[in-house]
Amino acid sequence: MSELIHRRSKSFTALIWVFVLFWIMLAGFPFLWTMWGSFKVQGDFFSKADWAYAINGLRTQIETGSSFTGDGYHGAWITKSFWQAALNTMIVVVSVVIISLTLGTLGGYALARSGKKYAFYLLMLALVFRAMPHITLVSGYLLPFFEWNLWGHLPTAIIVMVAINQPFTLWMLHSFFLNIPKDLDESAMVDGCTRFQAFRRVIVPVMWPGVITTGLFSFLLAYNDFTVTATLLNNSNQTMVPKIASFLGTTQVEGNVMFAVAAVVSATAPLFILVMFFQRQIVSGLTAGAVKG
């Protein structure tokens, strides 16, 4: 019978292959192209005469003596101190992930085990909060933060991102905890554990797959954020994404778009590695919410 399902006409199979190939080109080529181009000079990457220059690097050869150049990277990382932004991003992202997960596991566990009506209302409220455009929230922070001198510090941005991240974290961890059988912690409580002891001794050891998946998404939210970091941080402690945005204003004047190109490629590399190692967790995380409700 399965043979029957998989039997297809040749032309239809060809059509599917062409379509999937087209999609792969669409999804992957821009990254490949930009990565390749980041090692060229501007005259090649933005070549008016012939885009083949971008491939063989004719101008790069003339200007630097070799087909590949690290000038863009040197300019971005050293001259424009992109390394500092990368460091800030690391601090922000690690803190956001750890704090979000700590708060989220406690809350998500409680929501999954409560069964009361107010737990459902809280989840609905979290859904409403999740829908709020981040910039509307930020416009509420700015004035008080200015007044209380909280503006422009990394911890402020971290706490704000943790909070904005909470609704999503709660939903995701709540659905993971629903999958852990209730008997597990309840039998621990029958044996004399308090609720918190049961959570710590019985649930914590088995929750890691769910926590890692949720952590990946917290990582992505913090790493990819532009709205919060661009408005709440000042020039001296910017993270990578607003730093790249600020390159656009300054470098085009100096004719150094390649700094921005190199910075963009540098900021994308960690994401590539992340997807490579955690593809299965990302896929399962994306579908967790959908399949369960």
């Binding site: 599917i16 990254f31 409680a110 829908a131 509420g140 943790v162 994308t268």
Partner: protein, 343 residues
């Protein structure tokens, strides 16, 4: 779980959400009722070689003192909501009276900043969402029929547009469609028009942003649909085949109904996310031809012409109302489902 235990478990998370999501919504509303102080003026006698006269000057010290004392500004009621930069009530009326027909009226309305942003935001939301569903569904069907070995790498490449930072993703595409970039130059060559610039034309900019939106979000729909396809019961498909259903009929009457809950889920997430479209406009430097609600709030706060808390607050409140309108059907549905389950 006891109420008291529940409370202690949820407390940290709840405090964070109340402080940084619920309170800002309130504070945005209060801000929107105030407007920046005007400069304090004073009259001084300035005496020159040709006699004395009265001059009006800005009292710098008094102005800054006023700002210090009342950082919110002065109370303006709903004035900010109705001014030209927001709902523009008087402008709408006068445009209505002056316009001979609908198209003149709409072009006049389109020139008002708020309606301009609203027009793009709504167009973007309601074009990108269905296209994402459609493209994601077809990619899922295609990848599902690939040989097993190729599925992993295909999914890896497919995830990239979604996982990459929106600002970075739009910059990458922006450089390619630059008139000196590979896509822009190829288009010029294809259409034999050396002056063709995707950035110069508003219509092309809108199309470009929409294409970016679909490119960015299609992987999400694809992954969800792909997971859904794995759970389609093969018995039903086989039964349909025995009854003589064609490939199209099987997809239409067996697979699609199975995926309906997923379609609802993806549409919900996509409507919420597309309504706050913001980064692509910065990345594509598209603000001359396309602005979104989120973008005009950002421009009021960090646009370089000073910060206008009142204006940003009013737009934020209007945006939040828009989100509420989008969410109400979903909330009512979930509410009914829950109450049905409870009974």
């Amino acid at each position: 779980m006891k109420n008291r235990t529940f409370f202690w478990f949820i407390l940290p998370s709840l405090v964070a959400m109340v402080l940084f999501i619920a309170l800002p919504i309130g504070s945005v509303f209060i801000q929107s009722l105030y407007i920046e102080h005007g400069a304090v003026l004073k009259e001084v006698k300035s005496c020159g070689p040709f006699g004395c006269k009265d001059e009006v000057q800005i009292d710098v010290a008094a102005t800054s003192q006023l700002k210090e004392e009342k950082p919110l500004g002065k109370f303006n009621g709903f004035g900010t909501y109705t001014n030209r930069n927001h709902l523009a009530v008087t402008e709408l009326k006068s445009a209505w009276n002056d316009s001979a027909n609908w198209s003149i009226y709409f072009s006049k309305v389109y020139n008002l900043p708020f309606y301009r942003a609203l027009a793009f935001t709504l167009t973007y939301t309601f074009i990108v969402t269905p296209l994402v569903l459609l493209l994601g569904f077809f990619i899922a069907l295609g990848v599902n029929s690939l040989p097993k070995k190729l599925k992993g790498p295909t999914i890896f490449v497919s995830l990239l547009p979604m996982i990459v930072t929106p600002l970075i993703g739009s910059l990458i595409l922006f450089w390619m469609i630059d008139s000196k970039g590979i896509l822009g130059a190829s288009l010029q060559w294809l259409l034999d028009d050396p002056n063709l610039s995707l950035k110069a034309s508003p219509a092309l900019t809108w199309i470009m942003l929409i294409i970016y939106g679909v490119w960015h979000s299609a992987p999400f729909a694809f992954i969800v649909f792909y997971a859904g396809l794995q759970t389609v019961p093969s018995e039903t498909i086989e039964a349909a085949m025995i009854d003589g259903a064609s490939r199209w009929e099987r997809t239409r009457y067996v697979v699609l109904p199975h995926l309906v809950p997923l379609i609802v889920f993806i549409s919900l997430i996509q409507l919420m996310d597309n309504f706050r479209v913001f980064e692509p406009i910065v990345g594509f430097s598209a603000q001359a031809s396309a602005t979104s609600l989120s973008w005009i709030i950002y421009n009021d706060l960090a646009g370089g012409e000073g910060t206008f808390f009142g204006s940003a607050g009013a737009t934020s409140v209007l945006t939040i109302l828009g989100v509420a309108v989008l969410l109400i059907p979903v909330l009512i549905r979930t509410w009914n489902d829950f109450n049905r389950k409870a009974v």
